[in-house]
């Protein structure tokens, strides 16, 4: 029982990341009709926003030590971060410690700008082209972005820690009457889950309760009619692209403390997120979220030892097996609507 609760927790966490990326993907697909293979790269760039802010905050003045020496026997460099000299050692250290949450603010404008540039500069030229062309060009773009990041940050993962107060884990077992240590879960992963839930609700609320959102939803349902009513739907869709980029970026920022960011982390998530979108139903936002959490939990269950010993290797294929089963029984996915990608 405790093992099952533990894997559900794990799955919620993985599912949060899948759901956030898939939400952005399906938002872009539903509005602009573009299959965006560069979306994983946006997630990765988000994580590197956290790395970049951490580096900016850690910019230091360098003085040479009189006593310490470096590995070559020369005077060692002592680095004092500017924030520590400006705000005092304690406040400065606290600011650096909190660089990941601070990176949320930093990443929103950056990601929206990147989204705008991507959409206006490249993707807009492919709206009228076949999906195969869109996939090729966005996949190419993903590789280019990946290599750019690798050029500047190297290939090795870069540690980007959560604030000190979120280190360690919470003992759910004791809370639920199990033995201590039976169900433990890291604080930061709980934060990640809460944060994802918040972002997902915010996106839904924005689409549901604002005039802008209403127009966008109308445009998703019938672009032509909305256009005929004299509404510049293209402009709004571009803004939605920026928004989707920001959602992926935020997912990346908060993911940085979970696994040290590296240049190909986007690709690791991309394929799975596509499966999530397809299983959820192309163009369906609730479908993407539902499928994200569902597949995340299934994946966690499949990596349990008890299940792996029954069917070896199941942890690597479970998502695809389930995807095939769902598409065989419900060809439009869990919550797909008629007419999407079927013209």
């Amino acid at each position: 029982m405790d093992a099952i609760i533990l894997q559900i927790l794990n799955g919620l966490d993985k599912g949060s990341a899948y759901a956030l990326i898939a939400l952005g993907l399906t938002l872009i697909f539903g509005t602009l009709g573009v299959v965006n293979f560069a979306h994983g790269a946006l997630f990765m760039i988000g994580a590197f926003c956290a790395v970049t802010l951490q580096r900016i905050l850690s910019l230091s003045t360098v003085t040479l030590s009189k006593t310490e020496t470096n590995f070559l026997g020369q005077p060692a460099e002592i680095k004092t971060p500017y924030v520590e000299s400006w705000f005092g050692p304690e406040a400065g250290a606290a600011i650096i410690d909190w660089s990941v949450p601070l990176a949320i603010l930093f990443s929103i404008p950056v990601m929206i700008a990147i989204g705008f540039i991507m959409e206006r500069g490249l993707i807009k030229h492919f709206y009228k082209r076949p999906h195969a062309d869109q996939i090729l060009v966005t996949f190419g773009l993903a590789i280019v972005l990946q290599e750019v990041i690798k050029y500047f940050y190297g290939a090795n993962p870069i540690p980007t820690g959560a604030p000190e107060v979120f280190k360690g884990s919470f003992d759910f077992g004791v809370l639920l009457g199990f033995d201590p240590n039976a169900i433990i879960y890291p604080y930061w992963r709980l934060v990640y889950f809460g944060f994802s839930a918040l972002i997902i609700s915010a996106v839904f609320a924005f689409l549901q309760f604002t005039t802008f959102g209403m127009v966008v939803r109308a445009g998703m349902a019938d672009r032509e009619t909305v256009g005929l009513l004299g509404i510049n739907i293209d402009k709004r869709f571009t803004i939605m692209f920026g928004l989707a980029a920001a959602v992926a970026g935020l997912a990346g920022v908060m993911y940085a403390p979970i696994n040290s960011p590296n240049y190909h982390m986007g690709m690791d998530f991309l394929v799975l997120s596509f499966v999530v979108v397809v299983v959820g139903g192309m163009g369906s936002l609730p479908g993407a979220v539902l499928a994200g959490f569902m597949l995340g939990i299934l994946e966690s269950f499949a990596s349990m030892n008890e299940i792996k010993s029954l069917i070896p290797g199941i942890d690597q294929i479970i998502i695809y097996v389930v995807a095939i089963l769902i598409l065989l029984t419900r060809p439009r996915g869990l919550m797909g609507r008629k007419g999407v990608m079927e013209e």
Binding site: D2, A3, L6, Q7, L9, N10, G11, D13, K14, E68, N70, F71, L72, A76, K150, G154, A155, N156, P157, I158, P159, G161, K167, G168, S169, N181, A182, I184, Y185, P186, W188, R189, I258, N259, S260, N262, H264, M265, D268, E299, S300, S303, M304, N305, K308, D315, Q316
Partner: protein, 448 residues
């Protein structure tokens, strides 16, 4: 009056015949005179450096390339000579190898076996490389070693820690300076016994490929021999990025030690996840929960940041060693590049020097001559103390370093501290040890 009757067809025919005629003797003469593949012509010799320049191990590959460039510079008489001055064999004089200036070509393994074989093949066939060296993965090393055996080229392996490289997949043309899974286990076991006692329950998470399997087998055997119990061995897909679902069940399994048979990105993520789950703050069976990372790489450990603190593992070489050879190498490398070398850099520098020295002593670039010079070769002054290149399996036997993640690092390079230097005798095994059994060294192949 002469008439010229050139036709297009005639010209093509003539040039084809002439071309074939010209090409044939060169090919035959090379084979006849030297009797081995890519015998150096003229006053240069070309070495092939096959390292990951793209993909997840690109940073490690870049460090290998730096060390190769340094080695070539030293062989050709440039720089301060580095470990050439401390090397016990004094054959190398900074005059290239056998009087020929050393040149090199590079290939990108991408840490994929097929890509590595293709780049090695291209360096052998197109660039005339007489030796191939490098790499950062056992899968790649074994694939390239096989290719070099067929092509009649010497292969000086880079980073490869699987027992199989000089075990069941050993080849007469292949040589390994780096240590292996068995040696890590033999060096670590006594240290772990002292630290954590003989009554422990270990849980293994293992990368699902040749290196992971052999290391898991080695560590489990060594720890069980001192009384530990192995609770579970779980294989994790090499492509895994989030290890939470593998780590979450560990605490509840009754285990009090977690062994991470992971390398590179896998190691960084699994260790980070394990620390996130608070494993190191827990008490199980009345003892502190411990994590062990049997194979450490400083370059990779950097990705795990503060999570490595206090965690034990083993490494082939570390820049903080205080022997003359290590100091000379760190000085030479550090002056040129501004930071200390990694164990990958050290290994490939040694491999280049050992190859050059063997050619010098053998008086030929013939792979069979070089193999003979390396087999049973005992040397010192390359940073690991007295070392033997064993003839039976082409494995180097030298001291192994047991290291621990440093609690208070003084710089970004200062991540590990050496806690024990395990003498070579303690990590030596018989060539027919069951973990290395199967496969045969075969005979050297000069190719051509």
């Amino acid at each position: 009056m002469s008439t010229s009757n050139f036709t297009r067809r005639g010209l093509l025919k003539t040039s084809a015949v002439a071309g074939a005629g010209l090409a044939l003797p060169t090919y035959l003469s090379a084979a006849n005179h030297a009797g081995y593949t890519n015998a150096p012509q003229g006053d240069t010799v070309t070495l092939g450096f096959n390292v990951p320049q793209s993909g997840p191990y690109a940073d490690e590959g870049a460090d290998e390339l730096r060390a190769y460039e340094l080695a070539v510079e030293h062989l050709n008489g440039g720089g301060d000579g580095g470990m050439m001055n401390t090397f016990s064999s004094k054959e190398l004089t900074g005059n290239g190898i056998l009087g020929k200036k050393v040149e090199y070509v590079t290939g990108d393994t991408q840490t994929k076996s097929d890509a590595a074989r293709a780049s090695a093949k291209s360096m052998i066939e197109k660039d005339g490389a007489v030796m191939i060296t490098g790499g950062s993965s056992s899968g790649v090393a074994i694939a390239v070693q096989g290719l070099c055996q067929e092509a009649g080229i010497i292969f000086m392996a880079g980073l490869t820690h699987s027992n199989d490289t000089t075990g069941k997949d050993k080849k007469a043309n292949g040589f390994r300076h780096f240590f292996n899974g068995y040696m890590s286990a033999a060096a670590l076991a006594p240290v772990l016994k002292n630290l954590y006692g003989t009554d422990r329950n270990a849980y293994h998470l293992t990368a699902d490929y040749t290196w992971g399997w052999t290391q898991e087998e080695s560590i489990a055997a060594a720890t069980e021999a001192m009384g530990w119990n192995t609770v579970n061995k779980v294989r994790t897909p090499l492509a895994s990025t989030d290890f939470s679902s593998y780590i979450a069940p560990v605490l509840n399994s009754g285990a009090d030690v977690l062994v991470l048979n992971h390398y590179g990105g896998n190691m960084v993520n699994s260790l980070t996840n394990a620390v996130q789950f608070g494993l190191r703050d827990k008490q199980v069976n009345g003892k502190n929960f411990e994590i062990v990372v049997p194979l450490y790489s400083r370059l990779m450990a950097k990705g795990a940041g503060a999570n490595v603190k206090g965690i034990h593992g083993s490494t082939n070489w570390h820049w903080s060693l205080q022997d003359d050879a290590s100091k000379a190498f760190v000085k030479s490398f550090g002056t040129k590049y501004g930071f200390p070398p990694s164990q990958a850099a050290h290994t490939v520098y040694c491999q280049t020097m050992l190859y050059a020295d063997a050619a010098q002593r053998a008086g030929t670039f013939n792979p069979c001559g070089i193999a003979e010079a390396l087999e049973g070769f005992e040397f010192d002054g390359l940073g690991n103390g007295k070392t033997l290149y064993r003839a039976a399996d082409h494995q180097c036997f030298k001291d192994v370093l047991v290291v621990r993640g440093k609690e208070n690092p003084t710089s970004e390079f200062d991540l590990l501290e050496v806690v024990e230097v395990t003498p070579a005798a303690q990590v030596t095994y018989e060539p027919d040890h069951p973990m290395f059994a199967g496969g045969a060294l075969g005979t050297c192949n000069p190719g051509a």
